[in-house]
């Protein structure tokens, strides 16, 4: 099993960067085994292609506007994920949508794709997450650790 955990977002726009903050939290909390790579994808798109090929599973972490209360964590999988990025739920919709479509064209889309989303509060200019979102980061990191556990990869706490 070979898994990429890809956090997406812009750190300069407060909660926009939540996906990247979750990746940082995972790194801080757990010993990461060889078969898992954590990647801060920023707001890149097609440049990330080289990181997703050859993976058995891709776990994306991003802010998602689903209309729920801010800080709500949502989970999607399978074909729902590329379909979601075709709609308007994420600020990184185009970049990630093109990335996934291109990977599909090249037959290099991982078999399992899981998206964890968190509902943002503020996406104004600033480096700090809003308190409601910051409080959810450890919980979201635990969800991802649990997901990896379901894939057969147990993470040890540091």
């Amino acid at each position: 099993m070979n898994v990429l955990v890809l956090g997406i977002g812009n750190l300069l726009l407060q909660d926009e960067g939540a996906g990247v903050r979750v990746v940082e939290e995972l790194e801080k909390r757990y010993e990461i085994p060889e078969c898992v790579e954590l990647l801060d994808g920023g707001t890149s798109g097609i440049e990330l292609l080289q990181y997703i090929r050859g993976r058995d599973a891709l776990i994306l972490v991003d802010v998602v506007r689903s209309g729920e209360a801010c800080g709500t964590i949502t989970r999607y999988d399978g074909d729902d994920v590329p379909a979601l990025f075709q709609s308007k739920i994420s600020p990184h919709q185009l970049g990630i949508s093109d990335l996934l479509a291109t990977a599909r064209l090249l037959d290099s889309l991982p078999k399992q794709i899981i998206l964890f989303g968190i509902e943002p509060k503020s996406m104004d200019t600033g480096l700090e997450l809003s308190p409601e979102i910051a409080a959810q980061i450890p919980g979201l990191a635990e969800c991802i650790a649990q997901e990896l556990q379901n894939l057969g990869i147990a993470l040890e706490l540091r």
């Binding site: 750190l11 726009l13 292609l49």
Partner: protein, 566 residues
């Protein structure tokens, strides 16, 4: 009667650009380019340590991470009048060249080729005919019948499966699509191959920059790469020789695929050498410093007024006031407070939103000017300035490209044809070929310098008390990038980025002169008003990327492309 077309957003990459055109008798007679987001990213930097500005600056945009990092460290070094070790210059130069090559290849094949290439037509092609056409253009080893047949089968299964995905937004079957099925198939084949090739450029960046998409190896005063032949975790000869094989693969693709493809498309669409010129004042800056002080450069830069290359004037170096004193920004037609044009060191970013007013304010982008006039930036400006300066590799590749286009078009196509929509694509391909030579040369310079025993990569910056200011200039893939910094008592007092897409997507300035996108659209023929492919061709030829051009994020997410006619 005039028809109004609104396209919003125009790009598939970062940022939101809206373009409005007024069309009379099948041609555009007025146009407006409008940035639809406001970002105050520079505000984050105020009060911070100048040594860490680049780490935040490279987060401004997901496409141009490296370029903002480079311009940022250069701005601080310029303020401190620092010298940079040779090894650091060469390593940075290689990062810059590799990034630009990756960007140019992705722009042509993945962000704009589908404006000219019809994927559905490629399904009708005869792979044998396509292969023999390809072999007449170049000796690329992946132009075989087998390779072309495979691509066609892959496209078929994609289209039959109803999953057009990345191709879903194309204007298939549009009357302005003119390539034969065979040329379309060849271009689609290279589209797929280019996805592989661009990874090679990214690998160079990963090796030198320690990480992508955000490089980790920069520092104000040099780079953080330790050079040591005995340790595999540092930059060793073994790694550098691997980089060399990657450079060679890029060169093979650029010379045997990218450049011939652009020439073929230019030859078949030679009528497009007559559209899209727009603002013909061209600005570029010198790049690839070859000494520690930043006074000698591999590629010269400068300014050409009114498209007349005999009037080229060089910008000599990073200190040249011909550049630093000539730049100012107007907000007369932008959603900011203020009246007078301001120099970036004095720049203000106070929002003043109205609604979209054709004759008033209509954009979040400011209007930069060079000595009071709008200027076009980007590969075309760069190539014309290099050509005017007599840069030999540029002359070689430009002449080669023009002769290929002439033979395909069946008529002489001269350098003046570059002042056009298709000319911007040709210039980008010419520049990619030049950059590959530059990359090779910088690699050799680095190897030779390490061979002399020099392993220095960093000079420690010393910050004075009081106020100093500097500008970091960089000829980025989309053109002239400048970061303007004012440092007071070792902290950032002001920081302004004047980015390439600000120059090109500029609204009208204080004299109501239109910006390059706007001017380039005047006269463009429009065959079908609600499918304005021709507008997209011209705007896309600039390689627009607005994430950083606009000084908050869109409050409401928008649909992919909406076209309104009224």
């Amino acid at each position: 009667m005039a028809t109004r077309i609104t396209i919003d957003p125009v790009t598939r990459i970062e940022g939101h650009l809206r373009v409005d055109c007024e069309v009379t008798n099948g041609r555009v007679n007025n146009a407006w380019a409008s940035g639809q987001m406001w970002r105050g990213l520079e505000l984050i930097l105020k009060g911070r340590d100048p040594r860490e500005a680049w780490i935040y600056a490279q987060r401004i945009c997901g496409v141009c991470t490296t370029v903002h990092a480079i311009a940022s460290v250069r701005s601080v070094e310029n303020a401190l009048k620092m010298e940079i070790p040779l090894n650091a210059q060469y390593i940075r130069n290689m990062l810059i060249a590799a990034h630009a090559i990756q960007d140019h290849i992705v722009h042509f094949y993945h962000l704009s080729a589908l404006d000219w290439v019809d994927v559905t037509s490629a399904l009708q092609a005869d792979p044998r005919k396509a292969a023999s056409l390809a072999q007449s253009l170049s000796s690329w080893h992946l132009n075989s019948v087998q390779e072309l047949t495979q691509t066609q089968e892959r496209l078929k299964s994609f289209v039959d499966g109803g999953q057009l995905g990345i191709f879903a937004n194309g204007y298939w079957g549009h009357p302005a699509m003119k390539l034969s099925p065979e040329v379309n198939l060849l271009a689609c084949t290279h589209y797929l191959q280019a996805l592989e090739v661009q990874r090679r450029a990214n690998m160079i960046i990963s090796i030198l920059g320690s990480k992508t998409p955000h490089i980790q190896n920069l520092a104000v005063g040099g780079v953080a790469n330790p050079i040591n032949n005995d340790s595999p975790s540092t930059l060793s000869m073994e790694r550098l020789y691997y980089v060399k094989t990657l450079i060679d693969e890029l060169g093979d693709f650029i010379n045997n695929v990218y450049l011939p493809d652009v020439c073929a498309i230019g030859g078949f669409y030679s009528d497009w050498t007559g559209y899209g010129a727009g603002v013909m004042n061209y600005l570029s800056v010198p790049e690839f410093p070859l000494d520690t002080k930043g006074t000698a450069f591999e590629l010269p830069g400068g300014y050409i007024p009114n498209g007349d290359i005999s009037q080229f004037r060089a910008i000599k170096d990073f200190q040249d006031e011909y550049f630093s004193k000539a730049v100012s920004e107007s907000v007369k037609h932008s959603w900011y407070k203020g009246e007078a044009d301001l120099h970036p060191w004095k720049g203000e970013t106070e929002p003043n939103y109205t609604d979209f007013q054709d004759n008033g304010k209509y954009s979040w982008v400011k209007a930069p000017t060079f000595n009071g006039a709008p200027a076009q930036v980007g590969p075309l400006a760069n190539v014309l300035c290099l050509y005017a300066a007599g840069h030999l590799p540029t002359r070689k590749y430009a002449d080669k490209a023009l002769s290929m286009v002439s033979s395909i078009a069946g008529k002489p196509v001269r350098i003046a044809a570059l002042h056009s929509t298709i000319g911007r694509h040709a210039a980008r391909a010419i520049r990619a070929a030049v950059l590959c030579e530059t990359l090779n040369k910088q690699w050799q310079l680095l190897i030779d310098n390490i061979g002399k025993g020099d392993i220095t990569t960093f000079n420690k910056p010393e910050f004075p008390n009081g106020e100093v200011s500097g500008v970091g200039i960089h000829e980025a893939p989309r053109g002239v990038l400048s970061h303007w910094i004012v440092i007071a008592d070792k902290k950032i007092k002001n920081y302004q980025c004047v980015v390439p897409s600000t120059w090109n997507s500029s609204p009208r300035n204080s004299n109501d002169k239109p910006g390059p996108y706007e001017a380039s659209l005047i006269g463009t023929p429009i065959a079908v008003a609600d499918r304005p492919l021709e507008v997209l061709r011209t705007v896309h030829s600039f390689d627009p990327c607005l994430a950083c051009a606009i000084h908050l994020v869109d409050k409401e997410s928008r649909g992919i492309v909406t076209v309104k006619t009224s």
